[in-house]
């Protein structure tokens, strides 16, 4: 009886814990020249995050998908904070209506984005976005990060990367279980579900790290 109660409490605690996502970090493009299909999803994602009252951390940029996301969140009364290196601020790249924490290096920025979020969302982007996403997946593979990592696969943008991941698994560079490191969604409206339904992960993942 007591055990049964404990199990129920534990399950409901886990449920509460999963639902209580209060902050996310979003990685996405800073390019202004990308197709409208990407801007459309950045806008929709911004609306969803604002309406769910989720505090958003991002790279602090004013243009591209970053700028679109920030504009949308501010317009919808949401909360967003930029983590931006000082050299970018000095280039005038920061979003002028967003509050920023000013760091010194790219590494410091990525560390803050990783450590202060209950989930990570990656949208299409260039090499900066890719290296951020890959570092998060790597940290999770090693059990150093346990939060959901949701890849928003707008326009099938990430398909080549996912093929590469599959090749890594097929050729034993990674294990099957490592497919659980990320959660793939195709539309912004699936992002919240993707976060909620991400497979459980914890520090013991280090056991599986070697392929």
């Amino acid at each position: 009886m007591e055990l049964c109660l404990k199990v129920i409490l534990w399950q409901s605690w886990k449920l509460c814990f999963k639902i209580m996502i209060s902050s996310v970090s979003v990685f996405c493009a800073s390019s202004q020249k990308v197709d409208q299909v990407y801007f459309h999803d950045a806008l929709e994602l911004g609306e969803i995050l604002a309406h769910n009252q989720i505090s958003v951390l991002y790279g602090g940029g004013a243009i591209g998908l970053m700028g679109c996301l920030a504009d949308t969140i501010l317009k919808n009364g949401g909360k967003i904070t930029g983590i931006i290196p000082r050299f970018m601020l000095e280039q005038g790249w920061s979003h002028k209506k967003v509050n920023h924490i000013v760091v010194e290096t790219m590494h410091e920025r990525k560390k803050k984005l990783a450590e202060n979020a209950d989930a990570i969302i990656a949208m299409p982007g260039g090499v900066g976005t890719m290296e951020e996403l890959l570092e998060m997946i790597t940290l999770k593979q090693l059990g150093k990060l346990v939060v959901p990592i949701v890849i928003l696969n707008t326009n099938g943008f990430f398909n080549p990367l996912l093929s590469l991941f599959e090749q890594m698994i097929e050729q034993h560079f990674m294990r099957d279980i490592h497919r659980n490191l990320w959660t793939l969604v195709n539309k912004p409206s699936e992002v919240m579900n993707g976060i909620q339904n991400a497979p459980e992960w914890d520090g013991s993942a280090i056991k599986y790290a070697p392929a």
């Binding site: 601020l89 209506k97 920023h100 760091v103």
Partner: protein
């Protein structure tokens, strides 16, 4: 130690000061601010006769934070005769802050 400023005492302590004033805008959740804080305290000790060195928590004092358009923290503002004379954003080495203060003495 640096003086703790609030929206209430800002006018009196900073804007009416005869000496140059350094104000460190910070927040508890801002990592880089924790690097600047101790440096500002040291400068406060070293320049206690020549300048006023103070800090303001942006979360508890939105009036002053908005008035000076502080969006990026850490930011250190340098005041002389009630006016902003210089500014430093980010966690920089102590020497940068000291050089800006020296220029106002």
């Amino acid at each position: 130690m640096a003086l703790e400023l609030t929206d209430k005492n800002f006018e009196e302590v900073v804007l009416k000061s005869q000496k140059p004033v350094i104000v460190d805008f910070w927040a508890a959740w801002c990592g880089p601010c924790r690097m600047v804080g101790p440096i500002v305290d040291e400068i406060g000790e070293e320049y206690k006769d020549k300048a006023i060195v103070a800090k303001l928590d942006v979360d508890n004092n939105p009036g002053t934070t908005v008035r000076f358009g502080i969006r990026n923290i850490p930011t250190v503002l340098f005041f002389k005769n009630g006016q902003v004379a210089d500014k430093q954003v980010g966690a920089v080495p102590k020497s940068n802050l000291v050089a800006k203060l020296e220029a106002l003495l």
